[in-house]
């Protein structure tokens, strides 16, 4: 279990819920002699039941509040009873990079789209078949949420009572989930962010997250777009000692005809005796990785520098 050195009065002070916000329920949480978090109050549901749960709520905010009620406002996470999410994880390529790991091989994304977004998806897929394919991350932009869930690189999960950090190695991409009872940023001050604004609560060893304030983007190549109205609810927990599971509901009225429920899995990887480490990721460090979008919409490299001077990736230069 990852132990943080801060077990001080300051930590205890920070554990006090923010005034005016829902206080986690601490009654009956402690099991004598146990260092494991208490059991989750949210019912275990099948994928079909989770899909139906999404349909029963009009928005991600509604679903989040329903789950909070089901969890009786959640539980307080204590330093000596943190769930063990230590280690390095990755997302198995069960269905390539498909947002829904249950996508049949070669199948179309499983989302139920609005007619407008269905049409755009069809056009994108037809383009990809012809090699007309451009990805916004090719110029080193972060993938953004919800696409963040799909990238195939290394991940770490840092759990503390007041915040949990969900880290993707790619472009040093950190999602901070605030679990201290604070609310979202006031609506009038919100603006689109790559990873949005995430608040959550613990329900035993389950972390429930609501994310809003997201930028528009794509779930992956040959996948649908999502709009700036996209919001998500996630429930993260350990499925077994080496697997972290995330039940994910995506709400996006312009794009989705109904909430898109998927279950993501992240597997703990062999750390090669401690030699597998997550390093700083500078996406622009090698000129040879610099690509641009051609006039016909496909992707091409800039000039290579195979003379040993890798140089920095030119910014803003497009042919």
């Amino acid at each position: 279990m990852r132990r943080w050195p801060v077990r001080t009065a300051l930590a205890l002070l920070l554990a006090v819920p923010v005034a005016g916000c829902s206080a986690p329920n601490t009654a009956g949480e402690k099991a004598a002699g146990s260092h494991a978090p208490p059991a989750s109050r949210i019912a275990a549901r099948s994928k079909d039941q989770n899909r139906e749960l999404g349909r029963q709520h009009k928005s991600a905010a509604d679903l989040f509040e329903a789950l909070r009620q089901e969890a009786k406002n959640g539980t307080t996470l204590e330093w000596d009873r943190l769930p063990d999410w230590s280690g390095i994880y990755t997302r198995p390529l069960k269905a390539g990079l498909a947002f829904d790991p249950d996508t049949p091989p070669g199948g179309r994304p499983t989302a139920r789209l609005t007619p407008e977004y269905e049409k755009k998806l069809t056009a994108r897929i037809e383009g990809v078949k012809k090699g007309i394919e451009w990805d916004p991350i090719s110029t080193c932009a972060p993938p953004g949420m919800p696409r963040w869930l799909t990238e195939p690189f290394l991940r770490e999960f840092i759990v503390t009572p007041k915040q949990t950090w969900l880290i993707n190695e790619m472009v040093n991409d950190i999602r901070r989930v605030y679990t201290d009872g604070r609310a979202h940023i006031p609506e009038e001050d919100r603006y689109p962010l790559y990873n949005g604004d995430s608040i959550g609560f613990w329900d035993g060893d389950h972390l429930v997250i609501h994310t809003n304030q997201l930028q528009a983007g794509i779930y992956q190549r040959a996948h649908p777009d999502y709009s700036e109205q996209v919001e998500t609810v996630e429930i993260w927990h350990k499925g077994d000692p080496t697997t972290l599971l995330a039940d994910v509901w995506v709400y996006d009225p312009p794009a989705l005809a109904e909430p898109w429920y998927v279950q993501q899995a992240y597997k703990k990887v062999d750390e090669q005796g401690g030699n597998l480490r997550i390093r700083y990721w500078n996406c622009g460090e090698n000129q040879n990785n610099s690509v641009y979008q051609t006039k016909d919409g496909t992707t091409q490299f800039h000039d290579f520098t195979f003379d040993g001077a890798r140089g920095a990736q030119p910014r803003g230069e497009r042919k």
Partner: protein
Amino acid sequence: MTRVVVTTVVAVLALAAVRVGAHHSSAMFDDKKTVTLDGVVKEFQLTNPHSWLLVDVKGKNGKVVTWGFEAEGPSTLARAGIRPSDLRAGTKLRISGHPMKDGRPAAMWLDAVRLSDGKKFDPRAGFAVQESK
């Protein structure tokens, strides 16, 4: 003790879909062609989001051309068992890849064999989950 379980079946099925395209489309490579070249490592650029293995290849006319073979970043290569010490400058190898459609001397790195000892390198194997239990 760490027990290593290699779950390759799923990964192998999925690799064709991912290739090296995690950062950009692979549309610039011709996946219907494969070039296999003998050469000498000039430089192993372990960089994100992609690493490049630069290989000097001597043509029939005696002229040396530097080819660039693109692979995933350092951590994915590490997961494939490929380390900087494996392919130091001067290492002789036979390397294969999908070449560029436009004829430039670059390719998507598929596999390689170090000629001194026959050790094989599959950069795409890094996406297989070597699970820790």
